[in-house]
Symmetry: C2
Subunit: 502 residues, 2 copies
Amino acid sequence: MAEKCAINPTREEDYAEWYQQVIKAADMAENSPVRGCMVIKPWGWAIWEFIRDQLDSRIKATGHQNAYFPLFVPLSFLQKEASHVEGFAKECAVVTHVRLEVKDKKLVPAAELEEPLVIRPTSEAVIGEAFSRWISSWRDLPLLINQWANVVRWEMRPRIFIRTSEFLWQEGHTAHATEEEAWKEAKLMLEEYRKLTEEMLAIPVILGSKSPGERFPGAVDTMTFECMTQDRKAIQCGTSHYLGQNFAKAFSIRFNTPQGGTEYAYTTSWGVTTRLIGAMIMAHSDDNGLCLPPKVAPYHVVIIPVLTKEERREEVLAAARKLEKALQQEVFDGKPVRVHVDDKEGRAGEKNWAWIKKGVPIRIEIGAREVDASTCVASLRDSLEKTVIPLGGIASKTPSLLADLQERMFQKALQFRNQHIHTDITTFEQMKAFFTPECEEKPEIHGGFVRAKWCGDTATEDLLKELKVTIRCLPFDQSGTEGKCVITGRPATLDAIFAKSY
Amino acid sequence: MAEKCAINPTREEDYAEWYQQVIKAADMAENSPVRGCMVIKPWGWAIWEFIRDQLDSRIKATGHQNAYFPLFVPLSFLQKEASHVEGFAKECAVVTHVRLEVKDKKLVPAAELEEPLVIRPTSEAVIGEAFSRWISSWRDLPLLINQWANVVRWEMRPRIFIRTSEFLWQEGHTAHATEEEAWKEAKLMLEEYRKLTEEMLAIPVILGSKSPGERFPGAVDTMTFECMTQDRKAIQCGTSHYLGQNFAKAFSIRFNTPQGGTEYAYTTSWGVTTRLIGAMIMAHSDDNGLCLPPKVAPYHVVIIPVLTKEERREEVLAAARKLEKALQQEVFDGKPVRVHVDDKEGRAGEKNWAWIKKGVPIRIEIGAREVDASTCVASLRDSLEKTVIPLGGIASKTPSLLADLQERMFQKALQFRNQHIHTDITTFEQMKAFFTPECEEKPEIHGGFVRAKWCGDTATEDLLKELKVTIRCLPFDQSGTEGKCVITGRPATLDAIFAKSY
């Protein structure tokens, strides 16, 4: 059935191009002619709004307050934390002029700034400066702030949603009186991210700490949650950093203790971005396009009236409207079911495929035949199988159909990921064979995550670069067993996840 | 009662400084060391969230969809509409480099871009380019898009919320098949803005069209809604532009008509910004600080337990918690009453003043005496008078207290504004006398709006510059009568509003 493959190429044929085509077919977003930037179109934006609102609730429920800080970072601020500026220098967009003038009939920058301004790649510097003014006593702590903002990190190889020069995110920034509290905060927010990603986006993730080579510039520890794509690579879905006193010292964030002394605060920062949408696409979509976990679907149900017989048009439309109303009375995920009647002109078959490509969880067709029989034809996004269901029963069944689909998507992704975590690779030779292109003809073993021992020597991370592999994380569920480092063969107790990544 | 004047200076003493101090005392926002930019602190941000969410609902309810477009505008895009680029050239922040390097131990911009990028001062150019690709047939119209974003217009004289180099806003951009539809759209959104501003922020506004000298660069018509501050100046609260085919021609936004021809679309754009918060502060606040219209108050009610007697502490706190629960059961403006118990350490008197300065509509004190008498002491933000009320009755009374306060604030601002619209000024000499500094010693007549006849000659707008006065708008409620132009004495039928402005 040729029609059953709406995306060209398929995942098998060309995964990277398949990804672009899924986004295009769903009309979610597009690459902008503005280099490295994307336009997020209404279908993509609606998904981001669900993610944003859900995460925003979690951030507020855990005691944080939103605020907003400037887009610009003066160079002098950025320079205060040495490894921080070093980490971001290569991708900073710099504003040098604040006026345009016509010169020789050409529009050129004028009014050069004395101190150039960097567009925030992240806001530790600007917020650190503010915190140093806001905090003076232990009574001011903890200070728990979040902002929703755009940031810019100049990309040479952009990939829509996954890696764009401008992206949207939230960044939490907190300051605490003790090391213990700051650690607890960083871990708490990682756990909130896990819940968001697993429960809402149906993407299973592995939690762990980054190796030193992958740490956020200036952090003591970077914790991450990583998911697996269908081409068995890793995506870093987001990070939560324990910054120790590094930024407090750089920005002079100090507080008077109850005992009358002065101490530097302990800070954290944590963020997730529009990349989550890319991870969701890569985790769930198939060769027919986007598959949306019901909790982030702009429409849970699309009703397609089949209007082939003009004389029965009004009757069919009335039945569709009646079903729409019945569905709106039902509740899924704490809110009314989101339903849309697609009564635009056009053939039902074409509309069906359009909504499949947009990832809508449930499609329902109603035509004159169905009206006569008091039935409808329902189809779920994952199986695409059509089932005839009595009209009277479909609405009340919908919440459980959606909940089951949400759970099924998670379980499917979990099973896929677990199948592709390899624990039987113990030497660098085996790892090389596993990850190098020669093996690409054996897709059953190529790719995936390798879970193996690592000695912790940061110099070994360079060896991985040849394989285009990185340590994704040192997972929190360490086995504690002793073994040999998969790179050096030296005694090692750390468990690490190795993978190619986006 | 010296304590009754919490803001120093008062409005009379120094209005501009009073404004800064109100913001500082409420802990709403601060000037950032990043030139011309502000930090919006949690109390200010919460107010912005209410405005944003309310307006977002209105935008969606009128059929628009949100999307997101790049922060950067290539110079070549900006240049396509000549008057547009001319209008914004003087305030454009320009990115010229995308990397930082260390040179002679100094961090300097590197990797110069071939084509500089402007940070969006507004997005007609970027969105116009996208629309030209998205629209091909009359079936694609109307296209109704909105985005929430930050924009940058470099300011030489920033004033927090009112005029900052970076500000936040929404910008709607729509394309239509006919002139009539586009006009209808631009007017519809102006009306939504009016409702938002009058009903939510309790600020009365005057609707009208801008004179040619004040028009948005590239627009055919700019419609505005203007409010009056307590120093009797005007604030342009927002604008809605009918752009005709100007941008469609510049960006080639064309569509095939049902008749088989090709036509340029008619476009609109409309926006409101964080400036609305500044307008709200200027319209309502008093010499004791911020006064929040209940509909945008982060807390409607703050309960202050008076804990002077340690032995009755638990009892008083329990009564406060019980009242909190009772209040949360009540509904105002369609949502549960927002209530906060301030049980932090500190004197009740100090807390009271802190919440007055933050503009909370209702404060309720409960101490041991009140517990004994089953009463509480309630105080409204406008009168500050304390009233003893039976504890059992206060919760159910709260929604109407809030609704009354909301209405009272609107009526007070309306009365003030109407008192200061002068219709008896008919010559330029009189206008000069009214607006020039010599008159500042007669505050009863100085300042305010002048509603007078205008001949429509754009050259006359330059004469107003000497007086630091502008035509705020040609109000929609034109009288149609004939008279003499207040500037030139020539015959004139247009009614215009003249004022100094922020």
